[in-house]
């Protein structure tokens, strides 16, 4: 077992992928600049301008090029620096990448991976959003948002091997998170959730960065009070594997859903609705949801701290559901 950061895990898998002739990366400031979050730092020097394609600031173009190249058999990795800028490419992603295979009766495939970042910290209203629910809503897309270095690596590989367009969501505040990576080859499939922690008292359903916050809270509650929270890391939000969450929820009858997105009309609504629907006979208490406060992100730290998902808010939700 090697210990790696999320950044290192991604870099190592990107290198693996770049061995394939069909693979190139296109995105803003991935080359000369050295990569905004360091994931592709040094790659331009190593792989050259054909494989590491610095793009103009034209997000629709980056995705359109990925789609067209994918149609012709390439395996493009399109990087949108921040998911906030992806709105400029929503037409390409939703009207095209997601539609090609179906609309043309299966004649065209679009094996493109769109790497992008969620994240926040004093970045104000237009640089701190999560559009996870928007992507998750669209048939034709697969949407992956891993939480650990090992999952990052394996799911990135799975995304690259998949013939369908995959939205691969990273997180700016998670690149430094460390974890173990198996030495032997291992596989994680798209659309398979994971039990991050067993627990008999309550089920936490989450994915991406909040997994770590939930782990922290769960460990503390376990040590200090003997409360045992199960944590289900969904890993993929389209298609969504609810089997493990439901299995746990049918035992605990109580659940908290924790995601980084505004609290209404988010992925958490779908998660909660499915828990209720498919475990209707096991409900012990209303499910609590923890997400971003429903306001645009303020710049000031004292305010932002109260908008985001924190261990304290997760704990409060757990206590409420257990009460």
């Amino acid at each position: 077992m090697a210990v790696m950061t999320v950044r290192e895990a991604l870099r190592s898998e990107l290198r693996e992928q770049l061995k394939d002739d069909r693979v190139f990366i296109i995105g803003e400031d991935i080359g000369y600049y050295g990569s905004t979050y360091g994931v592709t730092a040094g790659f331009l020097e190593e792989y050259g301008t054909e494989k590491i394609r610095d793009a103009p600031i034209a997000e629709a173009g980056i995705i359109g090029i990925g789609i067209g190249a994918a149609m012709l058999g390439m395996r493009p990795i399109c990087e949108i620096m921040s998911v906030n800028f992806s709105l400029l490419a929503f037409d390409q992603i939703i009207n095209h990448a997601a539609k090609l295979h179906y609309m043309f009766g299966g004649q065209i495939t679009c094996p493109m991976v769109l790497r992008t970042t969620n994240g926040w910290r004093n970045l104000s209203a237009t640089h701190s959003q999560s559009f996870d629910p928007m992507f998750a809503y669209v048939p034709g897309l697969k949407v992956v948002a891993p939480a650990t270095p090992a999952d990052m690596k394996a799911l990135f590989k799975a995304s690259m091997e998949d013939p369908d367009p995959v939205i691969f969501i990273e997180h700016t505040l998670m690149y430094g998170v460390k974890g173990e990576i198996p030495d032997e080859p291992y596989e994680v499939k798209i659309g398979e959730s994971r039990v991050a922690r067993e627990g008999k008292d309550l089920t936490i359903v989450t994915y991406s960065r909040p997994v770590h916050l939930c782990m922290e809270v769960a460990e503390r509650l376990s040590k200090q009070e003997g409360i045992e929270c199960a944590i289900i890391d969904l890993r993929t939000i389209r298609p969504m594997d609810m089997s493990k969450a439901l299995e746990s929820f049918r035992t605990t009858g109580r659940a908290v859903v924790v995601t980084e997105e505004w609290e209404s009309h988010g992925v958490q609504a779908e998660i909660a609705a499915r828990l209720y629907e498919h475990a209707f006979d096991y409900l012990d208490a209303p499910i609590e949801r923890v997400g971003f406060r429903e306001i645009p992100f303020p710049y000031a730290t004292n305010l932002e701290d109260q908008v985001v998902v924190t261990p304290a808010r997760i704990e409060a939700a757990i206590r409420k559901v257990l009460a």
Binding site: P56, A60, G64, A69, M74, N95, G105, P139, P163, M242
Partner: protein
């Protein structure tokens, strides 16, 4: 079609056979679409139906200058391009009828004709988007070191949205083998060109990218063919993309629903006197390239083919219900509960 030894200077080195083939395609497009209109009125075809009538010379002139290995991607007004590329008219009409035998299995309809086996990458219905995909195809061709070019069709109204300009910049930066063909029919839906764009000679927009560009009479299939040959040679030799503007006119409404309040009947009649199909017919006959009899025979054959496609479509089974549960993904993964 590939160019063969010169016959006539006036005909860009095209043989009589080739010229007659061009006329045949123009006629087939016209008659096929007249059937479409009829079938739309009879509710055999639904949704949006955008006819190409009046613009035939553009598709035939441009696509005629490509090799079969070259790629085509187009917009929703795609019947002409599909037929000029030689797509099976049975499959096209069946697609319009929403039948299982349609070119996209009945899932796409008029706006999304396709045949990947003929390097025809489909019609797209969101203005401008497919220009960027064309750049993606061009990028792949270049990375794969292939000798082909890609041709992308769009209208005058499609040169005002951001995606057009992003495509111009990307293709020029990468010296991609993309031929942008703007069919300037003077209207974007019902909005006159003077209302929708600040530079009405579309080819001039290439200046912002130092891109090669040219304007041609899109009602003249030979002029269009020649201009395209030049563009293709340039792009194929690795010098970069070209913006070709073919000036033309659409005789029918924007779509089957259009009441055409934005132009007078006289204006349309005026243009009809210069109908590219009629003009080309007369020219070929006058110049002795084709006889009146040959022309009539072509027209009759086209009628037979078009009617055959209607019959084929009519008799085909409806779209397969498997598409209610399949096809969204190439690699489907069931959600688990």
């Amino acid at each position: 079609m590939a160019s063969t030894p010169d016959t006539t200077e006036r005909y860009a080195g095209l043989s009589n056979e080739q010229l007659i083939e061009m006329y045949r395609q123009m006629v087939l497009i016209r008659i096929f679409e007249e059937k479409c209109q009829e079938m739309y009125t009879r509710a055999k075809i639904g949704g949006f139906l955008h006819l190409y009538v009046g613009q035939e010379a553009v598709a035939v002139g441009t696509i005629g200058a490509l090799k079969p290995e070259d790629h085509i991607i187009t917009h929703y007004r795609d019947h002409g391009h599909a037929i000029a590329r030689g797509l099976d008219t049975n499959a096209l009409m069946a697609e319009l009828f929403g039948k299982a035998t349609g070119s996209a299995a009945g899932l796409g309809g008029s706006m999304h004709l396709v045949d990947v086996s003929k390097n025809f990458w489909g019609g797209y219905a969101i203005i401008g988007s497919h220009l960027l995909m064309a750049c993606g195809i061009g990028t792949a061709l270049k990375l794969q070191k292939r000798p082909e070019v890609v041709m992308v069709f769009f209208g005058d109204g499609s040169t005002n949205g951001g995606e057009f300009y992003e495509a111009m910049n990307f293709s020029q930066l990468g010296k991609l083998p993309v031929i942008f063909v703007c069919e300037n029919n003077l209207f974007a839906m019902g909005t006159p060109i003077a209302v929708h764009t600040s530079v009405q000679e579309i080819y001039r927009k290439a200046c912002a990218f130092d891109m090669r560009s040219e304007r041609v009479d899109g009602n003249d299939p030979i002029a269009t063919y020649e201009a395209t040959l030049r563009a293709v040679e340039y792009a194929r030799s690795g010098q970069g993309p070209v913006l070709l503007e073919a000036v033309t006119y659409r005789f029918r409404g924007h779509s089957a629903q259009d009441t055409q309040k934005y132009r007078t009947r006289e204006e349309v009649e005026q243009y009809r006197t210069r109908d590219p199909n009629q003009v080309f017919r007369k020219r070929l006959i006058d110049d002795g390239v084709m006889t009146e009899e040959q022309a009539v025979q072509i027209e009759q054959q086209a009628e037979v083919e078009a009617q055959g496609s209607v019959d084929f479509a009519d008799q085909s089974p409806p779209a397969d219900e498997k598409w209610l549960t399949e096809g969204v993904y190439a690699n489907p993964i069931e959600p688990k509960f």
